[in-house]
Subunit: 413 residues, 2 copies
Amino acid sequence: MTSSDLHDQMREMGRAARRAANALAVAPAEQRSAAIRAMAMRLREAEGAILAANSADMEDATAHHDRLLLDAGRIESIAASLEQIAELPDPVGVEMDRWVRPNGLDIARVRTPIGVIGMIYEARPNVTADAAAICLRSGNAVILRSGSEAQRSAIAIHAALVRGLEDAAFDPNAVQIVATTDREAVGMLLSGLDGTIDLIIPRGGKALVERVSREGRVPVLGHLEGICHSYVHAAADPAMAVDIVRNAKLRRVSICGATETLLIDREVASELLPKIVQALDGCELRGDEGARTIVPMKVAAAEDWNTEYLAPILAVRLVDGIDEAIDHIARHGTGHTDAIITQDEDAAEKFMSRVDSAIAIWNASTQFADGGEFGFGAEIGIATGKLHARGPVGPEQLTSFKYKMRGSGQTRP
Amino acid sequence: MTSSDLHDQMREMGRAARRAANALAVAPAEQRSAAIRAMAMRLREAEGAILAANSADMEDATAHHDRLLLDAGRIESIAASLEQIAELPDPVGVEMDRWVRPNGLDIARVRTPIGVIGMIYEARPNVTADAAAICLRSGNAVILRSGSEAQRSAIAIHAALVRGLEDAAFDPNAVQIVATTDREAVGMLLSGLDGTIDLIIPRGGKALVERVSREGRVPVLGHLEGICHSYVHAAADPAMAVDIVRNAKLRRVSICGATETLLIDREVASELLPKIVQALDGCELRGDEGARTIVPMKVAAAEDWNTEYLAPILAVRLVDGIDEAIDHIARHGTGHTDAIITQDEDAAEKFMSRVDSAIAIWNASTQFADGGEFGFGAEIGIATGKLHARGPVGPEQLTSFKYKMRGSGQTRP
C-alpha cells in the first residue's frame, strides 16, 4: 500500500469512528452491556481461528514471549474478563453533581463519553479485547493498533469483537483495528486523523512513550515508567516491613507497580536490612555504600536509581530520615506509586502528602497499584500525568462531562 | 537579548517556578489566602505606578482598546476581585472520595495542585492579577505572558503581586512574568521549558490557538471559539423566547457565551421571528432563505454559520424540528454553549443530551456561560476540550488529585 493510500484509509477510519462514537454516546447502557457480553460469546466461538492466528504470530516472534502466547484457557479468561466489564456500572449519563443557583438556574454535571480513543499497545493479545470492552463500557469508539508481533492474533480477536458489536446492533466501526504493521500508521494516529481522535492511550515501552510525546498532536493519557519506591521508616513494624517489601518487589516483577528501589532509615538498617534481604530470595541487590556495609551486595551505579528493572533486581539506599526519602523520590521517582512502611501516623501522613505520586501508600505493597485492586473493575492502564486522570484508568476515567443547565426563562443581568 | 540568553532565562524561570510550586503545594490554605489579600492591598498601593505604565501602553496602542485602559476604578475592581478569590474555599487537600476495599485498604482521592501553569493571554491587564490569584488559590505556580500591547501595565501589576507574595512569606517565583515582548518566548513556554510547565492555558484569538495546537508539547486547557446557538423550539413560550434571545445576543456581544446563531422551528417562525427581530434593536441579521421570506434581512453566506462575530450580528436559520437543530449544531458549533427554548421537557432533555457542548442550556440565556454564574467564584477561562476540565475553569478545575492508600500490612495475593 502506498503512503497516500494508507493516509486515505486511516482518515476514513477516523471518520467512521467519529460516526460510530456519536451513536454510541446516545445508546442505552444496556445495549453497551449486551454488546460486551456478545463479544465474549463470539470470542469463545472463534477460539480455533484465534489460536491459529496466534500460532502464526508465535512462529515469527523474535523471542519467546509468554505474553504473546494464547491457549484455550487464556481465551476463556479474556472472555470472562469481558463478562465482568459488561456487569460494571455504566458511567455515561451519571450525574456527578447538581446544584441550584440563587437565580433558580439548576446546574447538573453529567458524565459523557470522550469520543474516539486511539489505543496503541504492545504485543499482548488480551489488550485488544480488554481495551475494546472498557472503551465500549464508557461509550467511546476505539481505534486499536496492536504491536506487530501480535498483529494476527489481534486481528482474529478483533473479528470476533466486531461480530459481538453487530449482534447488539452497533455500528462495527465502534471498534476498529489498524490492519497494517506499517509504523507510519502510528504517526497518523498520533496526528489525530483530522481531529477525529480525541485521546491517545499509549501502552508500551520507552520508545513508544517518547514517540508519542514527540509526535502527539492530541491529548495523551500516558504512563511513563513506574519507578516505585518502598520506604522503610525507622518506626516500621519489622515483620510487616519484611512482608511488604518482599511482596512489593517479588510478587510479580514485571508489572509497573513493582518496587524498584528500597529506601531504609539508617537507624534501623543494621537490624532490619538483613531480615529483608533474607526474604528476597533470588533477588539481585544493588546498594549504596551504607547498604553494602550491612549486607554484601553489588554496587548501585547512578543509573540504578533511575531504572525500571521489571526484573528481580532491587536498588537499596540508606537514608537519614523521611525528608531524605521524600527528596530521593522527588529526584528519581516517576510519579507512579510509592509506599512508606511505618507505625508512626504523622510520618505516614507527611509522606503521603509530600510525595508527588499518583498513588501514595502507607503500610501496604506497591503492587496494589491496579484498577482491579482499587475496585474499578477493569483498567486500561495507569496514568502518570496529572491532567484528566491519574492512577488506574477504568471506565469512569475514560469519560468527560458536560453541564446541563435548566432554567425557567432566566436572562443574565 | 540573544535567543540563547532568552532560552537560558526562560529555563531558569521554569526551574524557579517548579521550586516555588513544590513549596506552594504544601503551604496551608490560609497562607495562600493571606497572599491573595496582600496582593490586593499592594495593587491599590501601586495605583500610581500602574496607571503610569498603562498610559505608556495606551499611547503606543495601535487602536483604541477599551479593554487595555485602566483607571482608579478599574484597579479597585481588580483588587476587589482578588479579595473575593481570597475568600473562596481552597481546593487543595480536599477529599473527593474515600472508600474501603474488602481487604481493609482505605483509599482516598485527594485534590492536589497541578504544578506550574503557563498562562498566555491577550492585552487585558486584569487577567494578570486574576490568573495569578486563581493559580495561587489552587496551589499552582504560574508563568504569565501578557499580550505585548499591555506589557508595561502587566509588569507593573506583577510587581505589586510579588510584593503581596512576599508579605505572606511566599517565594516570589510563584508568580513570574515573561518580561519580553519577543514572540520566541511564547514558543519556549509551549515547549514546556524542559518539562517544568505542566499545563498551558491560552487565552486569545485564533492565531494564538492555532500556534498552541501546532507547537504545544505540554497539555493545553484551551478554548476555541464560542459559536453558541439559541434554538427556539416549536413549543417555546413566545415571550420567553424573545427575552432570552435578546439577552443571549445583545447583553454583551463580545463575550464567548454570546449567541451567534439563532435556529428557529419553521412552524413557529412566521409568528415568532418578527417579534424576536423587533427586540433585537441595532442588531444586523443574516438569514437563510426561509428567514428572509419572513423578515427582510441580509443573506447568510456559508461562512456565517461558522463565524464567531463577537459583534451585534446574528445569523438566523429556520429548521424543521429538533433533529435538524441538533444536526446544525453538530456541524457548526464549537462545543461551547448551546441553548434550547421550549416548554416541552422531553425535547429539552433530548437537546441537552444530544448536543455535544460543554454547557447545554434549557430556557436560559447562553450568556450564563461563566464561572461566576456557575458559582465557581472566579474563572480563568472556559474550556472547550473534553479532557481534564470542560466549561468554566475555576480554582477546582486547576487541580489534579492523588490517591492516598492506607493499609495495615496488606500484601497483594
